[in-house]
């Protein structure tokens, strides 16, 4: 039994009059009677409306303030990857673009099916059993993971963070925990710049998790390095009673590396921006959250499940909603009651357009370009590699003087050489975090070296 689903049609005057009559008022304004006058008669200090041409000119002037002409090597949690035209075209279909949160499965099967696909991709990439319908971004996903672990390990008061977990992710975790009595986020000095190398040091980790509900680390880490001892780290965490949370800021890496789930990670969170979402000055992004089946009832966020309808056909619904605000209120696993559906849809469409072998090829290109850049930049006498461990698509480069100065000089020549690390790590104020994705050509990288040599 198929009917035309409810198209969006605003009420006509007749319908409004009828409804007002039913309720017993004369005009719509009468419904606001109970509000105090001073709230109703407000003058907003807004400019006058513009004609369409004037508005277009105004918006174009704002857009012209953007610089998109730089040869940029910025990354650090927000990555420049090529977005195929097919992705934009498909995401722009109004059925995807204008769909709202799927409360009613009867009219939202399309949306629910796409989100189920998203969850499936995330679980596959992370090597985990279940994934939710998405979070806002990688940082809040990490914070929600900390909260989940504090619920799972009620007797433990700490969320322990690796120093090479993205500094902004750490700030967000600290913020989330700040007003909860009896718990705290603690950064454990278990890697550079506090001592030892760029990856988590097992000796410094061992014996430090007695009060930890969780240990949160990044893969690849903020310095771009591949953490190769995940299995050992998982073993230490589990032995000391902590949940292992692995955050992935660059999921392109998951197409070149073994998934964290394979090594014993209990929760895998991260940022999905790399898959089809342009950097756009830092947002919006899309967080992903995956975990073990045994923890699913403590997982925050929306969850789409697959079931059968009254006619025995496969269908999709929001499920396990007793974790959520609208059912459990103060006992909910989180106050999140939505997701980033459009961004999650983009992520899903990007992966289906690029495909399994395509994604692996792209990831390989990232590795190769980064390796070429590492080699070429260190051929310059004044620049040095800081870490020896393998990198995915970003690396830390030591400069002959303050990195902010080097960057400023490079910008004048149309090249953005990377993020001055001193902004987050005072010990590294002479270092840049240089990111090289598949969007860079040999000429781009050679130009970077030319400019670095000249400043």
């Amino acid at each position: 039994m198929r009917r035309t689903l409810m198209p969006y049609v605003p009420h006509g005057d007749d319908t409004v009059k009828q409804m007002l009559g039913e309720v017993g008022v004369g005009a719509v304004d009468d419904l606001f009677e109970p509000l105090p006058d001073e709230l109703l008669r407000v003058d907003f200090d807004l400019p006058q409306p513009l004609t369409e041409p004037a508005l277009v000119r105004h918006m174009e002037a704002l857009a012209d303030a953007n610089r998109t002409d730089r040869n940029s090597f910025l990354g650090a949690g927000c990555y420049d990857h090529f977005v195929p035209a097919a992705v934009r075209h498909l995401v722009g279909q109004s059925q995807f673009y204008t769909a709202y949160t799927p409360y009613q499965p009867e009219v939202s099967q399309g949306t629910l099916a796409v989100i189920f696909e998203f969850q499936t991709y995330v679980a596959a990439l992370a090597g985990m059993e279940v994934a939710n319908a998405s979070m806002y971004d990688g940082a809040t996903a990490a914070a929600e993971a900390a909260l989940m672990c504090l619920r799972l390990r009620k007797e433990r008061p700490q969320a322990v963070l690796a120093p090479n977990l993205h500094p902004e992710y750490r700030r967000v975790v600290e913020t989330y925990l700040a007003n909860i009595p009896g718990v705290e986020a603690v950064t454990l000095p278990c890697c550079a710049p506090y001592g030892r190398g760029g990856t988590v040091d097992l000796n410094r980790l061992t014996g430090s998790l007695g009060d930890a509900a969780c240990f949160i680390m990044q893969y690849p880490n903020f310095f771009g390095l591949v953490e190769t001892k995940l299995a050992d780290i998982a073993e230490i965490c589990h032995r000391e009673g902590a949940v292992l949370v692995v955050a992935v800021a660059e999921p392109m890496a998951l197409a070149a590396l073994s998934p964290p789930g394979k090594f014993g990670a209990d929760v895998v969170v991260g940022e999905g921006q790399s898959f089809g979402i342009t950097p756009s000055f830092g947002g919006p992004g899309v967080g992903f959250f995956a975990t073990r089946r045994e923890f699913v009832r403590q997982m925050p966020g929306r969850l789409v499940g697959k079931t059968t309808d009254a006619e025995g056909k496969p269908g999709y619904v929001l499920t396990l909603q007793t974790r959520e605000q609208h059912i459990r209120r103060e006992k909910a696993t989180s106050n999140i009651c939505t997701n980033h559906a459009l961004a999650a849809t983009t992520f899903t469409i990007y992966l289906s357009v690029v495909g399994r072998t395509g994604l692996a090829a792209l990831a390989r290109r990232n590795v190769q370009n980064c390796a070429y850049a590492q080699y070429q930049t260190t051929e310059l006498a004044a620049y040095k590699m800081v870490f020896e461990e393998p990198a995915f698509n970003e690396f830390v480069l030591r400069c002959p003087r303050a990195a902010e100065e080097v960057r400023a000089a490079c910008l004048k020549k149309g090249v953005d050489p990377g993020l001055p690390l001193g902004r987050f790590y005072p010990e590294y104020d002479d270092c840049l975090l240089v990111t090289v994705t598949e969007t860079k050509t040999k000429e781009d990288i050679d130009r970077l070296c030319e400019v670095l040599a000249s400043v």
């Binding site: 009832r297 007793t322 059912i327 459990r328 006992k331």
Partner: protein
């Protein structure tokens, strides 16, 4: 309907006293209102509970509700069959679908509970 030999709470739990061990479950009224029960969150053996305090959660397809202890004491047994198959509580709430057994701390607390007749009157008004 509601067994005469049990005591009842206003929050729809029943209690069966046997020496100093009290078996606790959900009433027929509760299971019927809740609908199909899909999940039970029950305490660990050894946990302390307070009369009137929360000791777990019952989740149905419609809602999630707290479970309140009729009496204070220590949990000595948890019904694994019920946590494995929550539908047991719908099918046989006064028998196989019991939830926990508590070692009674203060026997006088039982007097605060309702009789079958008082409970029937209470839910009649609901």
């Amino acid at each position: 309907m509601n067994p005469e030999d049990l005591s009842y709470t206003e929050t729809h739990e029943w209690a069966k006293v046997d020496g100093n061990v009290v078996t606790i479950g959900l009433t027929d009224h509760a299971q019927s209102e809740l609908g199909d029960i899909v999940y039970l969150e029950l305490p660990e053996v050894g946990a302390d509970v307070e009369a009137g305090g929360e000791f777990g959660v019952v989740e149905s397809v419609k809602a999630a509700s707290e479970l309140y202890a009729p009496v204070s004491g220590k949990v000595v047994k948890v019904n694994g069959a019920a946590t494995q198959e929550p539908a047991l509580v719908n099918r046989d709430c006064y028998g196989e679908g019991w939830l926990v057994k508590i070692e009674l701390k203060d026997p006088s607390e039982v007097e605060n509970l309702k009789t079958a007749a008082e409970y029937k009157e209470f839910i009649g008004g609901q």
